[in-house]
Amino acid sequence: MKKIAVYGKGGIGKSTTVSNISAAMASMGLTVLQVGCDPKADSSRNLTGGQNIPTVLEVLRKKGDPELEDLVVKSTTGVLCVESGGPIPGVGCAGRGIITAFEKLEELDAFGVYKPDVVMYDVLGDVVCGGFAMPIRGGYAEDVCIVTSGEMMSLYAAANISHAVRSFGKRGYASLRGLILNAKNFEGEQELVDRAAAEIDTPVLYRMPRNQLVQQAEADGKTVVEAFPDSEMAQHYRTLAKLLLEGGGDV
């Protein structure tokens, strides 16, 4: 089982990237489980026809003790989708929410039941408190990638996340594979990202070009891989998917 966590600042195209990678992997015949770890809970929107699925925390709040089937939704692309979700805005403990969602999946033996070949975690990287670091701890993910654009804030978050991963790295957990550039296409962006990558001491794994088809597919609640499988962009995602599958850690 390959377990990859993709972090990134909110709004940077993290979920788009992850769901396209998941869809690409699924199209290669792999069983993929995608776990969204963002209180906004829209990681898998483009896998489920633009619909939000119930989150683990929502179900937990309402039902108390859910079954696995309440939490895992099989998408049209074949990707198994889970959203950890977040607490009600303004109350409770967001970090504890993520931890609770993970513990619940473990208690219900999600990995044992679905036996995924790949688990993709899509994690908000803005607030990396004890709870939000969960996916890079406790053996959940082995590889970490960070999606970023060349914008300062996004690179700042990337540096922050890499710092967290590195500090956990000493503890034998996930290791940082590199950055995935989700370009905004402004001038000098590539150089900015290269410089940041050098500072963080990690490679730029892949440079994803900007492509109109992404928005077009999203308007239909789809990934590019599903909506335009023959497009150049879908090919990019498939190439990235292979890259992620081949290198990195393995259990």
Binding site: D65, G130, M134, G138, K170, R171, G172, Y173
Partner: protein, 412 residues
């Protein structure tokens, strides 16, 4: 009437079990309390409690001295307000270094509510600091909001001991007996241990009362025989991490199940089964046949003080009884197999925690069970008053005694 309760099949852990009635009940003690007691009883094992000043004070009630009988250290680490925000990694690492220098052989970190709530990463901390230390370190997190009842204090602590074990070669004559202290003289020795000794097998008891070295060397065993639900999670982990197979006896009530388990033990330990238990088995089968006849279709309720409610309920269901309501103090993950048996038999009783028996008896009475088991204050219902004395026992004898007690109460 019991709409607020979950059905047995919906419960996956202790957190799903609700109170039977709204009770002004102060609640259970913190599971850290039991961890503190256990740790004091393991010769050579030091401990570091990480929590609030009140946790530290509370721990000292049970483990009153900073030094144990054999030079173990039982130290306390009190988290301050800054550490709540920034984590207590450095402070705890520092405390471990000091304990190491002070001669601790092995250290169990016991984390309470606050470190658990802020997601303090003890596993990572230990991974990072272990190479610096002579003392081996393990941890157990016992935030009470996650461990409402006391049993997790026991089984999680026992399970954590696996981290202190050394990988070693298997000794085919060595058997670990899990969940049984060598010093529990007040509990009758289960027949199986004496029998195993008669086969010239070397038994090692792993439970509070054993020594750190016993735990360390435990992976050399050819087999783990489990006698208590508290010890089963450790057996599961030892099988996963060290490849030591285990056979559980504590949750076997049916003579056929016991017979099979004894056969499995013989095979694993490499001796020929002889007729030693034949007579006991025949007795158990006889009384079971009688029970099946008499108890079939009779409904039952479990109150407090039933050792292992789910396995026992599964057995009683198997012989034809009907479960109406079960008090469960702790749902073990191994209980799920027994839950399935009950469900397969067509039942799925509500489960609860009975906390104020005086009130709860009235509710139970409305269920009109044929027979109640466990602790009741005063009731005109038929009931088997106490089943707690079966703690630590296994095998045919226990089944015979339990069925006898139930049959007595049914009045024939």
């Amino acid at each position: 009437m019991f709409d607020h309760l979950k059905r047995l099949s919906a419960v996956k852990s202790g957190s799903g079990i609700k109170f039977l009635s709204p009770a002004v009940f102060p609640g259970n003690h913190c599971p850290m309390r039991i961890a503190s007691v256990i740790v004091e009883d393991i010769r050579g094992l030091s401990s570091l409690l990480v929590g609030t000043p009140e946790c530290a004070t509370h721990s000292r009630l049970f483990s009153p001295l900073p030094e144990g009988r054999n030079g173990e250290l039982h130290w306390l680490y009190v988290i301050d307000s800054n550490e709540v925000v920034f984590g207590c990694r450095e402070g705890v690492a520092d405390a471990l270094r000091k304990m190491d220098r002070a001669g601790a052989e092995a250290i169990l970190i016991i984390g309470t509510c606050i470190p658990e709530l802020i997601g303090e990463d003890m596993e990572g901390l230990i991974h990072e600091i272990q190479p610096e230390l002579k003392a081996q370190v393990t941890f157990v997190m016992l935030g009470q909001f996650k461990n409402v009842s006391y049993p997790p204090g026991s089984w999680k602590t026992m399970e954590a001991m696996a981290s202190l074990m050394d990988r070693c070669e298997t000794d085919s004559r060595r058997i670990n007996v899990l969940g049984r202290s060598p010093f529990e003289e007040h509990i009758p020795e289960p027949a199986v241990t004496g029998y195993l000794e008669s086969k010239e097998l070397k038994l090692r008891y792993l439970a509070p009362g054993a020594s750190l070295d016993d735990f360390r060397q435990a992976p050399d065993a050819a087999l783990n025989v489990v006698l208590s639900p508290f010890a089963q999670p450790l057996a599961v982990r030892m099988e996963r991490e060290f490849g030591v197979p285990f056979i559980a006896l504590h949750d076997k009530y049916a003579p056929s199940d016991i017979d099979r388990a004894y056969g499995d033990i013989a095979r694993a330990a490499g001796y020929e089964p002889d007729g030693r238990f034949d007579e006991e088995k025949r007795q158990a089968e006889n009384i079971q046949a009688k029970a099946e006849e008499r108890l079939k279709g009779m409904s039952f309720v479990f109150s407090q003080r039933i050792d292992m409610p789910v396995p026992l309920a599964a057995y009683l269901t198997e012989i034809g009884m009907v479960p109406l309501l079960l008090h469960i103090e702790e749902y073990y993950s191994a209980d799920s197999a027994h839950t399935r048996k009950i469900k397969d038999a067509g039942y799925d009783p509500p489960v609860c925690r009975i906390t104020n028996i005086a009130e709860d008896e009235k509710l139970i009475k409305e269920l009109n069970p044929d027979i109640c088991m466990g602790y009741f204050l005063k009731t005109d219902m038929k009931y088997v008053p106490d089943m707690y004395d079966f703690y630590g026992q296994t095998g045919y004898g226990r089944t015979v005694n339990i069925l006898k007690r139930i049959l007595e109460v049914t009045g024939e």
